[in-house]
Amino acid sequence: MEDIAIVGVGQSNFSRKCGVTIKELIFEAFKEAMEGLDIVNSDIDCSIICSSLYDSQRSAEGPVSEYLGLNPQPTFLIENACAEGSTGLRTAWALIKSGLHDIVLVIGIEKMSGQTSREVAEMMGRAYDVTWESSLGLTMPAGYGMIARAHMAKYGTTEEQLANVRVKNSFYSVKNPKAAFRKEITLQGVLESMPVASPLKMLDCCANADGASCVILAKGDVAKRIARIPIWIAGLGSGSNTTMGRRNSYTSFTNAKKAAEEAYKMAGVGPGDIDVAEVHDCFTIAEIIAYEDMGFARPGEGPKLVEEKETYLEGRIPVNLDGGLLCKGHPVGATGGSQIRTIVKQLRGDAGDIQVKDAEIGLAHNIGGIGHYANVTILRR
């Protein structure tokens, strides 16, 4: 049933300022993804570029595909806010499943250092409804601040419990040479950081970054021929959500739950079968919500999961052992691919210091906007 595999993964260093062009940054990720693969550029049937294009380049797919030697094969851009990386993967899967292509390359890219934080905040703010939301000053942290406040009001979640997520992810960040922020942070450090959008403080938030990722997918028989250890795509799920004022829930992303249900069903597994997970921790509260939406914890019990260290390497369900968005940095278009890379390395047994023993099934949860777009991907060795 699992007839499409990931054969290559790569990412650039994630940093606050890369100092190179987006094409050069992508090359780093492409090179890593092609390592050990028995193919040449012309074997790649199609390239998909996933980006919200915070850099000046528009239609990045042209210059990027040329730089990687992928002309005249088809190439196109996907924009889906912070979820575009996994939307690219889903699209690549469909292109292969349809029989149209055998090998598809999914690039994620964002270069955000060319703009001031305020400019980025304003551009990000225009990813909401510009008519009714951006016009009233909605920002990404404010949206997640409202989610956090609702979770606190409903379940008694505390700021300390949110901060536990950053403490965990920073603990692992020092083991990830490609993370932008590699420093252990204490609970006190998070709690004393500058307020951004209550109840979220600076260290509850991920930072804008420059970075690229690359995922290469292939049809089953091709994958077995060209890759040492193909990692199979077992389940895919996806969903969308409304503007902030029309939500049915402010303590859960109902579309992420839908996406998880679809992915679990397709893979024939449940939350208890997941050995290792990457979730979209753009804010500490986002990781808590993800535990609950993915079924790792019951509604309201997400805070306890990290408090009891169940999402640490030795715990029941290790989550974001690569430092997460909170510590890697969040180059919007590159994030989904970076999550997939971490899971693929885990399932190959190549994860080094953060290897989960005998990991066979992994899950990646990638969100766009304030829960507007959600993709869940389940991979199997």
């Binding site: 305020r118 400019e119 905040a121 304003e122 990000m124 703010g125 225009r126 409804d129 510009v130 008519t131 009714w132 939301e133 951006s134 016009s135 009233l136 000053g137 909605l138 920002t139 942290p141 404010a142 949206g143 601040g145 409202m146 989610i147 956090a148 406040r149 609702a150 009001a153 500058m194 307020p195 951004v196 959008a197 209550s198 109840p199 979220l200 503007t243 902030m244 004022g245 029309r246 939500r247 402010y250």
Partner: protein
Amino acid sequence: MGFETFEKFGIVTHTKESKAADFVTYLEQGKVMATKCKKCQINYFPPQVDCPKCLLSDVEWLEVKGNGKLLTYSMVNYGPLGFEDKAPYFLGVGEFADGVKIFATLSKDIKETDIKVGMALKVIPVKSNDKVFFELQAAG
């Protein structure tokens, strides 16, 4: 058709024209209005004049009256472009009768220590220079 009056809406305006421009006229008259599809009887807030269910554009305007309650909120300490001087400001979602929920700024008249999930609210129009928008205000 006068759709361009919509450019008065918002603290910052990104959308200058809308078929829902009557919303701005009502705001100037002191009323915050939702739309209701006459055929499907579905309320829309933010207002929209097109109904995706029946594909008709036959709505009536109805005023959002009475008290609602605050579902959630956040104090924004760092505003984006156009909001630099506004921060800190509060954003929240209020729930009103007939399933109408409203995302808006919270009035600066509400004392910070009084802001709580569940507090009673009303929605009020605000005029500021040549702009109009709506805010959530403490009820009673």
